[in-house]
Each structure stands twice: as C-alpha cells, then as structure tokens.
Amino acid sequence: MNGGGARWRRALRLFPVLLEDAALEIREDWRRHLLTFVGLVWGSASVVLLLALGTGFMGFLDLGVEKTGARWTAVEGEYTTAENGGLRPGRPIRLEREDVQRIRAASPRVALAAGEILMATTAESRAKTRATIVSAAHSDLAGIRNHHVARGRYLDERDEAEARRVAVLGAALARVLFPDGRALGESVRIAGSAFRVVGILEEKGFQLMTNMDLHDNMAFVPLSAGQRVAGRGDEIDRVYLEPLRIAETEALERDVWHALGPRHRLVPGDDEALRFDRVPDMIGGIRNVFVALELLLGLVGTLTLALSGVGVANLMVALVNGRRRELAMRRACGARRSDLLLQIVAETLAIVFGGGLAGIVLAVGICFAISALPLPPAVPDPQISSGVLLTTILVLSLVGFGAALGPARIAGRVDPSAALRVS
C-alpha cells in the first residue's frame, strides 16, 4: 500500500517534467508531428462537431416539446367495432362537452382537462383577412399546450361560462392582422362573428407535433363561443387531459373508459372506439431516435479520432525506436522502467491533447460561424455544451492512453546496458 502511494507520488512528481521534455521534442521535431497533428485536429473537431450537432438536435427537441406541452393525452372518438345491444358495429363516437365533466368527476388523476373543436376558417381585421385555424377550447388548454400570454390575458372560466366573444391571437397572426401592433381591445371577425382581442401569445417558433410554428398563426376562443359560431351544438373534437403524474397516464385512460363507457354505450375491450394520442409516449419515441442519432454521430466522431490515434501510435513507435539509446541513458541515470513508460504516456498525451485541444477550438469556431448563418428554423444549430466538451476530453484521453500502450511497452523493454552499445 505504502509502495503504491510512493509510486503515485513519484509519477506525479515526474509527470510535469516529462511533459516539458515532450514539449521540447515536439517543438524541435515539429515537421515530423505535423501530419499526425492535423489528423488529431480533424479527429477531435469531428467529435466535437458531431456531438454538438446531436446536442443541437436534442435541444431542438426539448424546445419543441416545451412549446407543444409534453404531458398531455388527447382523447378522440372513433368507430365501434363491437356490437352492443342491437347497435351495429362501425357506429361513430361523438364526444361532447359534458364528457369533459364526466372524466373530471370519474378520475382523481386529472390535473388539467380541456375539450376542443378546431375550425378552419378566416380571421379578419380592418386591415387584413387571413385563412387561419381557430381552436375553441376550455381555458385549461393554455396550461396543457404551454401557451404564454405576452400581452393582455388568456381566456378564463367566465369567458367560457358566458360564451363571450373574446379571442387570444398567436403572435404571427396578430402581426398580420394588426400591422400597427395595436391589437388588444380591437375587433376581429372569426367565422363571420366579431370577437374582441383580449390577449396576444408569446412567439413560440417551432413546436413539436404541430405543423412547425402552427400556434403562432392560430386564434384561440372559448369553447362555448366557438361551438355557437360553428353551429356544432355540444359536440367536441377531442378532450385534452393532463394527469397529475405522468406515470398515471395509463390509469387515466382506464378512468376515461369508465367515465365515457356508459354514456356512449361502449363495450369493454372495444379499444378502437376511443383513440388516445399519448404525447409522453410519442416524445419518448422521438427522444430515443434522437439519442440514437447522437450516439451514432458520437461514434462516427470517435472512430475518426481513433483513426488519428493510430497515426499517433505509429509516430510514437517510430520515435521510441529512434531513441533507444537516449532511453537507455535515462535508465543509466536512474530512471526506472515505469519512468520510461510514464515518459511515453506523457509525450503521447501531450501530442494527443495538443492536437485535440486545437481541434476543439476549431470546432467552437465552426459552431459560431454556423450560428451566424441564417438557417431555416427547422435546422438546429450545433450546440457545444459542457457535456460535449467533457465527452471529447474523455475520448481524447482514451485515444491518448490507447496510442501510448504499444510504444510505452517498447520503451519499457529498453535495457540500460544499451546505453553502452553502439548500434
């Protein structure tokens, strides 16, 4: 144990001096290192860039998830496949606003619930008319889909109860309809009826699972008002549900079945009658694809770097073979075998990290250049996170130690008596 500690102390004492020696070797013999150096710069830059690209995609995903809301499940009525008390299979299931209440009453797991109908219609201001999609929904929708109000307010329960003709506009739609920027309190005609603008949403940009920046171009009105304008009675297209705990998504679906089964005369097991779109599952699936992508990119980068590591190993073998007498003289001067191993490790690491850090700097520069380019919003910028840097440094260390292995063993076999033998 004591001996082990002494060994480590010796190594720690020698290492910085051996690094200086390595720096001397590299500086004096730089031509010989040049090709290897370029390979390392390229290898480590590709590790950083590919990982950064993966991280960029991942951040893009997270942002898209944030913008669309990640915890909800949407329930829609489909068609029955089972016969039930004289009712034919193939009967359409039409959800209605009361169903939202039924689910709330039946399930303690519901955090947020909103019925919605979507209208493809026009929105018209004094200045402009624009084809748009209008969501008429309970006010819980804001929490479920992560709508944040930039100006004014969101819809509330009184809007819903009194079927007020009020609207919240997506940021892009507000800009189109009210180019002078004064939208709050103004009137906008939706599906032929006048609505008063009470709020403008924050710009969302790209959202996952919508058509890109859909929310920015939509208008949002109370469900009750929307149903009237659309003439759809009590019918709703879907119910958005957000559970208190995401792990209870499946249990929540069972609650929905219990809540809606009697009313819609569903036979247990007729799973196709209700469709559940589970966003957590979808995001999980997409996330797996992205993780796989990042791993793949990282692997490609690592292989590139490993290839330049082979170049380093070859260079070091050649250097060690050309330096046998010097190494033997070090042994004569009192270097232990392990000191020579350490020397080769230090020199290899100096080479690998010299090229590797230059590659990191290069990659950071390239990432800045890419961020400065005007790219379409669906293309994520590469992102150099501390994770990317740490991974790269880890890979560099592995490549360094890997490349040192062979040449260090050759150096360790150099006999001290070789110092006296002219070869």
């Binding site: 020698l14 001067c333 270097a335």
Partner: protein
Amino acid sequence: MSLLALRQVRKRFRLGEQEVEILRGVDLAIEAGEFLAIMGPSGSGKTTCLEILGALSRPSEGSICFEDEPVEDWSDDALADLRAQRLGFVFQTFNLMPRMSALRNAALPLLYAGVARAEREDRARLLLERVGLGHRIHHRPAQLSGGERQRVAIARALVNEPRVILADEPTGNLDEATSGEILALFEALHAEGRTLVVVTHSDEVAARAGRVIRLRDGRVTGIAA
C-alpha cells in the same frame, strides 16, 4: 571494506544457437578514492565488465557488492535507484539528450533521484561551471563541440555526488588536445578524492591511473600499480 567488488563474475550472452561466455570469472575490488583503468583488446569484455560494475546488467554468475552489500539480486527498481543515487556514468558517445540544454542534461540524474527542481538546476549549474561550461548552460548538444559535450556528460555524472564514476572510453571520440583536457579533468576529480573507473585504450589515461588491470578473453590477466 571495498567500495565495489566483483567476485567470480561470469557473464554469458546467447548468440543465436550458442552461448558465449564474455566474462569468465572476474575478481575485482575497487577501493574508495581509487583511479582504476581497465585495459585490454577490443572484444575482451571491458564494456561488459563496466556494465556489471555500474549495475546496468546483472552477472550470469558470481556476485557484485556495493559497499559490501551484494546487489545482484536486487530488484530492477532498486538497481535504478542505486544508479540514480550512487553511480555516475561517462560514455564514449556522450549520450546526451539532443533536445535538451546542457543544464537540463546535466540535471537529469537528480530528476530520478527525487531532487526538487530548484536544487536540480543549482547543482547542475554549479557542475557545469566546474567543468568550464558556465557560459554554455543553455546550449544544446548540437551547438557544442565534442569536448564540451563530454564535459556536459561529466557534469551529469557528477551531479548526484556519486560514490564512483564509471567511464567507458571517455576520450575515444575526441582529438588529442581535447582528450588531454578531459584527462586533466579526471585527474582533478581524482585529486579531490573521487573514485574513478575508466575503461580505456589510451596509454596516457592509463599512465595517470593509480592502478591498471588488463582483461583478456574475459579474465583479468594483469594488474599494474
């Protein structure tokens, strides 16, 4: 008590199929403060003998004692430490590290002996001054003449205050004038009381030695005082 003693040392090398015995039972005792020259024809085993005296290789048979302690069974690391702390070497081919300054070269054994940087540099500088290279400490070997290189090597051999300096044909690569300077340096070291073992072909070197032994076919054949 002798400083360094070989007892019935044999050294064999494997050359392809057959084994050749280079040292065939060498007995030798070196006293502290002595200036010993080892002579003999080429191939007679002088370098091999010096290797064993310097713990650079182990005898195939027989024993080597350093200050009365047998060291032939010491571990590799222990022998390295012995060289770092108690032995100094000077070789015909100088064997300096080509990328390093004279100062860094001369300080090298102290690194492995565990001496701190400031003291390493102080001692190396002092010894370079001692061998007349105080103005050349930042030069690299390629910027130095043969004689200067050998003086750097001598400074390196002295830097750890060794009990004995072992030299293998130290003037073999030098012209006559330069050889004379190096020889004068050895004499001065001897005069200070240092122990020197010098393998040499040169009668002039031998003439300054306190004692000369001759090797022939792996045996000590003659001892002259």
